[in-house]
């Protein structure tokens, strides 16, 4: 009796888990590979002679270009089916969200279609990123005032 319920529990636990393990492993490999590609690009841009700030920006822009292009060519979803969060969490995922929303809404017009829906995923990301930044800015500003002794 106890054994069967234990077995049931075990089966219940393991069936989805093997899928989870597979998904997570693939996400790990793809995510790691994209970051490694980013690092290699960073090395390349530094080697060419850009400073670290510009190289970092160029890496982001390059990966956004790559993500957008792969999306436009229609390969992104096929890759994302396996890679999951591996292609979502890097900036490629952001580029994919922007590009695919824009492409999907093209038929709805330039303003109410692309213009509105291009922000479907980018909007929340930008909004909450900026809001977090403002919150940090307020805290940091108050902190600098206290540091200078001009707050109280």
């Amino acid at each position: 009796m106890m054994e069967t319920s234990y077995k049931k529990k075990l089966i219940k636990k393991h069936t989805p888990h093997s899928r989870v393990l597979r998904d997570c492993t693939l996400a790990f490999l793809f995510g790691g590979a994209i970051c490694t590609l980013g690092e290699l690009l960073y090395m390349l841009y530094s080697y060419i002679g850009f400073d670290s700030e510009k190289s970092g920006m160029l890496v982001t822009v390059s990966l956004i270009f790559l993500g957008a292009l792969v999306t436009a060519l229609g390969f992104f979803d096929n890759i994302a089916r396996y890679s999951g969060a591996g292609t979502l969490v890097p900036v490629t995922g952001f580029a994919n969200a922007v590009t695919s929303e824009a492409m999907d809404s093209r038929s709805e017009g330039l303003v109410t279609g692309i213009g509105v829906k291009i922000f479907n995923v980018a909007g929340p990301v930008i909004l909450y990123g900026i809001l977090s930044g403002v919150l940090y800015g307020i805290i940091y500003y108050v902190y600098t005032l206290i540091q200078r002794g001009s707050f109280f």
């Binding site: 436009a72 590009t99 695919s100 999907d104 692309i114 980018a122 800015g137």
Partner: protein, 123 residues
Amino acid sequence: MDIIYTLLPVFVFGGLISFIAQLFIDLTAVTPARILVFTVCLGVLLYAIGVYEPLYNMFGAGISVPLTGFGAAIGKGVRSAVDEKGAIGILTGGLSASSSGITAALLLGFIFAILFKTRSKRM
């Protein structure tokens, strides 16, 4: 051989962030869009508490290529704008620092939407 020592930590850390995100997607009902929002806010937080910079020095693109890097850029931009311009920096810093990424994504998204007619579904 040196390059492997540089790239391995990048691979492992970048992979780890994706791994954790995938775990959340599989085990909870959280949508990809929420993961992106959360990752950006996490980046701002990590920068604000001073954890991002040391992690970046160790893992480079492993933490800057995921959207945590986007969030950290916002945090860094706000901080240096406040240092430079005072209170107005709270309003100008974030978007200035993230402008290249946002503009590139919007520009390319728009151009590709005009050029390519194939329908592509969001994942």
